[in-house]
C-alpha cells in the first residue's frame, strides 16, 4: 500500500476547498459568491447584487459561502478581496456589491455580461436596499 507523503503530495490533497473554488471560477463564465442563495439571500449586499444580475436577465452560477467558513477564507485569499459578495466574470473579479451596482447603473454591467441592458431596466433605487435587508441578521449560520 502506498502511503502519501504530505510534503510532496499534490495541492489537491491539502486544499480541496481552494481547488474547488478555482475550478468553479474557471468553469462558470459568471459566478457570484454570496451569503445565502439567489432565492434566499442572507444579507442585504448579496440580495442587491443578485437582484442586479436578475434584473439584467443574466445567467449566473451562485455559491453560498455560509455553509463552511473556509470557503470565505480561501476565496478572500485567492481574490485578495475582503468582503462578500464577489462577482467573477470570465475568471476575473469584477467586484462586490458597490462596484456591481455602479456598473449596473452605468450600463457597464450589461456590457461586461454581454447582455442587453436598456434604458427600461429597473432603476437601481428599486432594487433591494442593503440597509433594509440587513435586519435579517443571520449572516453567520455556522452550524
Amino acid at each position: 500500500m502506498k502511503s502519501i507523503d504530505p510534503i510532496t503530495a499534490p495541492s489537491t490533497q491539502s486544499n480541496p476547498i481552494r481547488v474547488a473554488i478555482e475550478q468553479a471560477i474557471a468553469e462558470n463564465p459568471v459566478i457570484l459568491f454570496m451569503k445565502g442563495t439567489p432565492d434566499a439571500p442572507a444579507c442585504g449586499f448579496s440580495a442587491r447584487t443578485v437582484a442586479a444580475l436578475q434584473a439584467l436577465d443574466a445567467g449566473f452560477a451562485a455559491v453560498d459561502i455560509l455553509p463552511d467558513p473556509r470557503i470565505r477564507q480561501e476565496l478572500s485569499a485567492l481574490s485578495n478581496w475582503p468582503t462578500i459578495p464577489q462577482l467573477f466574470v470570465d475568471g476575473e473579479l469584477v467586484g462586490g456589491c458597490d462596484i456591481v451596482m455602479e456598473m449596473y447603473e452605468s450600463g457597464e454591467l450589461a456590457e461586461t455580461l454581454g447582455v442587453e441592458g436598456s434604458s427600461a431596466q429597473t432603476p437601481a433605487e428599486q432594487l433591494p436596499d442593503e440597509a433594509a435587508a440587513s435586519g435579517l441578521q443571520i449572516e453567520n449560520r455556522l452550524s
Binding site: F45, N80, P82, T83, V94, G95, D98, E102
Partner: protein, 75 residues
C-alpha cells in the same frame, strides 16, 4: 468599535491627498459608507481603488467593521 471620524482619519492618513466622507448608516457602530476621492486613484480600476481603501483596515473588515460600503473617485 471605530467611529466614522476615526475611519475618515485613517483613510486620509494612509492614502496621501485623500478626502473621505464617512457615515454610520445603521447607527449600530459597524456598518459604514465611505465616499473617497484621491489623486492616488488615477489610472486604477475600481477594484484597485477599493482595495487601497480596504487595505487600510486589513482584518478589521468583516470583524469590528462589519461592512464598509465604498464609492471612490479620482480627485
Amino acid at each position: 468599535m471605530p467611529t466614522p471620524e476615526e475611519i475618515k482619519l485613517r483613510i486620509e492618513t494612509a492614502i496621501p491627498g485623500a478626502r473621505a466622507e464617512v457615515e454610520d448608516y445603521t447607527g449600530g457602530g459597524d456598518h459604514f459608507r465611505a465616499s473617497v476621492t484621491a489623486e492616488a486613484f488615477a489610472g486604477r480600476s475600481r477594484i484597485e481603488q477599493h482595495r487601497l481603501v480596504y487595505d487600510v483596515f486589513g482584518a478589521e473588515i468583516g470583524g469590528p467593521i462589519h461592512a464598509l460600503s465604498l464609492k471612490t473617485a479620482v480627485a
